[in-house]
């Protein structure tokens, strides 16, 4: 079982992966849950890029959205509530060969995971992050999320939640070293795919905020948006996502936007009605922590022993 395989690189060329190769059984989300469409979108991207399943990592926390890795035929890490980022960072720190996805919920990322969110943005490691925002705690059955809109009646705020919802866009864009932020909706596959494709191609922490219908508890909040594309505003212009014109046509609301302008991005981030979709911000020149953490990869054992002996010398008498 151990020992490096000689014909490894050769063999990779000979494999062709279909959607099926990324799929592990029947996803056990509620019928109609937006998570299903996101699953399909991720599988499609991997197929399009022909990423070997064994080279794909999906890391998550805890929540309905965090069950995601279980439905992928790749490597998965379904960890602890709020702690997907540190785990993904640790994996990625010395495994540049792995393609990394993180799936997280609005509670997982913005509530219990908020501290790691701030720092994951700053580390800017090369991973595609999908935050499933159903504006509720799904798995634990309808408690207020920090992204729940004010007044939403939940099991922990039966008289309506009190505070304004966390805005993932302006929050992320305020954080230091942000390099990619996009948002989309689960019910427009074409836009979802194109957005994930852009995120996938960005080297750094690509954060994609997806409005996600929870049929059990909150999808009614999105009914109006789903019915009327005018509730969305498509971000267009140089640097925007690559959307098929036939799909783009349905969006009457458009915002000409320069994703390299952080101030413009923060302005767009503040608008929620119509809800701007597309890339709000992208800067591929931000420092990537991987460049730091990958240092020394592949040092041969003899070199290690030699260096180590030099260190011991410092303490020898």
């Amino acid at each position: 079982m151990f020992g490096l395989k000689a014909d490894w690189s050769l063999e990779v060329q000979n494999r062709y992966f279909t959607l099926e190769d990324y799929n592990d059984g029947v996803a056990r989300w509620c019928p109609g849950c937006g998570d299903h469409t996101i699953l399909t979108a991720v599988q499609r991207i991997l197929r399009d890029h022909q990423v070997p399943p064994e080279k794909t990592m999906v890391v998550s926390g805890i929540g309905c959205s965090s069950r995601f890795p279980h439905y992928m035929a790749t490597y998965g890490f379904h960890g602890l509530h709020g702690r997907a980022f540190p785990v993904a960072e640790g994996i990625k720190s010395r495994r540049p060969d792995l393609t990394m996805f993180v799936t997280t919920g609005d509670g997982d990322c913005c509530s219990i995971g908020a501290g790691h969110w701030v720092h994951a943005v700053r580390y800017n490691m090369d991973m595609t992050v999908i935050m499933f925002n159903n504006e509720i705690y799904g798995l634990t059955k309808k408690q207020t999320s920090p992204t729940s809109r004010a007044g939403l009646k939940t099991n922990t705020h039966p008289r309506g939640s009190f505070l304004p919802p966390i805005n993932p866009a302006s929050s992320t864009l305020g954080m230091t070293n942000a390099s990619f932020f996009a948002q989309t909706v689960d019910w427009n596959s074409a836009h979802l795919n194109a957005t994930l494709e852009a995120a996938f191609n960005h080297r750094g922490f690509s954060f994609v905020h997806v409005l996600q219908r929870c049929t059990a508890y909150t999808s009614y909040l999105f009914d109006g948006m789903q019915a009327d594309p005018n509730t969305l505003a498509l971000l267009t212009g140089p640097g925007s996502i690559d959307l098929d014109p036939s799909v783009a046509r349905i969006f009457k609301n458009r915002i000409e936007h320069d994703p390299s302008d952080i101030h413009a991005a923060r302005r767009v981030a503040e608008t929620t009605d119509p809800f701007p979709i597309g890339i709000l911000y992208q800067d591929a020149s931000k420092p990537v922590y991987d460049d730091h953490s990958n240092e020394g990869l592949g040092t041969p054992p003899e070199a290690k022993i030699k260096a180590m002996n030099k260190v011991l010398d410092l303490f020898s008498i």
Binding site: V87, G90, I91, S293, K310, F315, I317
Partner: protein, 623 residues
């Protein structure tokens, strides 16, 4: 040690060992002088143990009780394993800094004090009074006091004696203990190698001046502490440095941490050196993230460790439960300090044992190794990595402030390439093998890592089948829980009983763990020499517990543990035989052996000195 001390004579008197302290305001270089004295003595073949005296504040006020900064050096003609009892000789730059040392019982009647005399003539009356009061107090305590004009003597050589008097003191001590001046000079040259030659010359002159000064003022204090034969290549380091070197030698290439006293200096060392062996140290945003980062790296096939102390351990609780449940190898280096809560950040305790073993909700057995010497701090990490991978579980290496900050010598380890072998292998995963294919006889299972074709699975902290599928059925959970526990039973069967020091039967057996070893064995040896039927044993692998204890204990009339953690006093008042809480190892041993094992412990924040253990032995055995 009392029996070695000589107070007069012609020419150097041979003694077996001495304990000296240099105590000053912070920034006066006492530590540098002491370290040089220690290294010099080690080179001359002495056994040495040095430990720094560190003020609680970053820049404490001058001449204050809280400001004591300095060093203790214990050295002798034999191996030295602990900081010892009261000092034989103290050099102090002022009086105030010694007050705190008395709280810690550092001196006794008969301790020689060489103290800077200039305060007696200080222009500020308050300072003169404080000095006089201090001397008065020291006299009452029975110290043998010599007021000496160190600074005046230094002024002959340098206009800035505050920066130079440490080397002067080194010179004094070199006379008193007949050190090889050439080695001292070479050391000084090395220390100042990046400075101009005139700096080296100045310090050499100060050294010589100190030597002559001592010969002139305290000529009768002249001892010889013979060195041993050269024991081969030797390392001198503290326990944290040893642990850091152990991490590097163990081939651990990813260390994630968050700063916390007293574990931080392990990471300072690694920050400086780990990259040289191709490794990476990550400073995370908090301890939970550090544990998560390391667990992620380990899951991905790297060798990973995390380092922390008590409050950090608390924040890693949940992550370590996940690692146990999902069977992710991980080395956890825990440098214990005083608790509970923020407690005593810079002081020693061995009080995290139960938190390590039982901190997690649910059943989360683990491997816990307690290092008992600085040398073990090095080797235990290598053992820990091996066990972590073989048993696919977190392994804790427990050390504490005593080992972390104590400096002593040990044989230079010979590095082995096999220690470095990476577990990461990306060849195909054998078809049909499940990610948790537990061997029903051992509970062990092989582990696929990302990149291995055919091994794809999703790790989860939920109850799961051998396929790593979430499952809540009664049988699945009972079986997987049993398999996770069986691993530890399997390991336990490979362990051997701890060694017994002394007769294997008698009136009293002292059981210890961790950093108290040196003191316990020294005290027991002394008591044995005095005719007491006492032996000691030291447990290195606490979980799963080393075997054979009950058989061993049965042959002694009393068995007690000696630990640095809290236990209730003897029955009295509301403390009764029934409600009395024992020290932590004692609790474990009582549960396991059902024998009435008592404990003798304290939470003084200090290493337990051999003399106190000796007293307890006498108290228990001398009727």
């Amino acid at each position: 040690m009392q029996d070695n001390m000589e107070t007069a004579g012609q020419g150097p008197k041979r003694i077996s060992e001495h304990i000296i302290e240099i105590v000053s305001d912070s920034g006066e270089g006492a530590q540098k002088a002491g370290q040089t004295f220690g290294s010099l003595s080690a080179k001359m073949g002495n056994g040495v143990w040095t430990v720094e005296i560190i003020p609680a504040e970053i820049k404490p006020p001058a001449r204050s009780k809280a400001g004591a900064s300095g060093i203790r050096i214990r050295f002798g003609d034999h191996q030295i394993t602990n900081m010892g009892d009261e000092a034989d000789l103290v050099v102090a730059f002022n009086g105030q800094v010694l007050y705190g040392r008395f709280d810690q019982h550092a001196y006794k009647a008969g301790t020689i004090l060489l103290i800077e005399s200039k305060w007696a003539n200080d222009p500020v009356p308050e300072i003169r009074e404080q000095y006089a009061a201090a001397l008065e107090m020291f006299k009452e305590k029975g110290l043998i006091i010599h007021e000496l004009p160190f600074e005046d003597a230094c002024l002959e050589i340098t206009p800035n004696p505050r920066l130079g008097k440490n080397m002067f003191v080194l010179g004094m001590l070199s006379y008193i203990y007949q050190r090889d001046l050439q080695i001292a000079k070479d050391n000084i040259a090395y220390i100042f190698r990046k400075k101009a030659q005139k700096v080296v010359d100045l310090n050499h002159a100060l050294l010589d001046r100190g030597y002559a000064f001592a010969k002139q003022h305290v000529p009768t204090y002249c001892w010889e502490v013979p060195g041993r034969e050269n024991p081969g290549a030797t390392i001198v380091s503290n326990g944290n440095e040893a642990a850091a070197m152990g991490i590097m030698a163990a081939g651990i290439e990813l260390v994630a941490m968050y700063p916390i006293t007293p574990a931080t200096s392990v990471s300072h060392f690694l920050a400086e050196h780990l990259y040289k062996v191709g490794g990476f140290m990550h400073q995370a945003e908090d301890e939970s993230a550090a544990a998560g980062f390391a667990i992620g790296a380990s899951y991905a096939g790297l060798t990973a460790a995390t380092i922390t102390s008590g409050p950090g351990l608390a924040l890693k609780t949940e992550m370590l439960g996940l690692a146990t449940m999902a069977e992710v190898p991980l080395v956890v280096v825990l440098v214990q300090r005083g608790g509970p809560s923020t407690g005593l950040p810079t002081k020693v305790e061995q009080s995290d044992l139960l938190a390590v073993l039982y901190g997690q909700a649910g059943d989360a057995p683990k491997i816990a190794i307690a290092s008992s010497t600085i040398e073990e701090c090095f080797h235990d990490v290598i053992l820990a990595r091996k066990l972590a991978e073989e048993y696919r579980t977190p392994v804790y290496v427990l050390s504490d402030t005593n080992l972390a900050t104590g400096v002593s010598q040990y044989p230079r380890p010979e590095l082995k390439e096999e220690w470095l072998a990476a577990p990461l292998d990306q060849s195909d995963w054998p078809e049909g093998v499940r990610p948790y294919e537990w061997d029903p006889n051992t509970g062990l299972s092989p582990r696929p890592v990302p990149g291995q074709r055919g091994g794809e699975y999703t790790l989860t902290g939920l109850a799961h089948t051998e396929e790593s599928h979430v499952a809540y059925d009664p049988e699945v959970n009972q079986r997987s829980s049993t398999m996770r526990s069986l691993k530890f039973a399997t390991l336990q069967r490979t362990l051997t009983p701890p060694e017994i020091k002394g007769e294997d039967q008698g009136d009293l057996l002292i059981v210890g763990w961790g950093s108290t070893r040196g003191s316990i064995e020294e005290a027991v040896l002394r008591a044995q020499k005095d005719g007491y039927k006492v032996s000691s044993t030291h447990i290195r692998i606490i979980s799963p517990m080393q075997p054979g204890l009950k058989e061993m204990f049965k042959k002694f009339k009393q068995v007690i543990t000696v630990e640095i953690n809290y236990s209730d006093p003897a029955p009295g008042g509301n403390f009764t035989e029934e409600n009395r809480r024992r020290a932590q190892l004692a609790q474990l041993l009582r549960e396991q052996t059902l024998m009435d094992i008592d404990s003798w412990s304290n939470v003084h924040g200090q290493p337990i000195r051999p003399g106190l253990i000796y007293n307890e032995i006498v108290r228990r055995l001398a009727h």
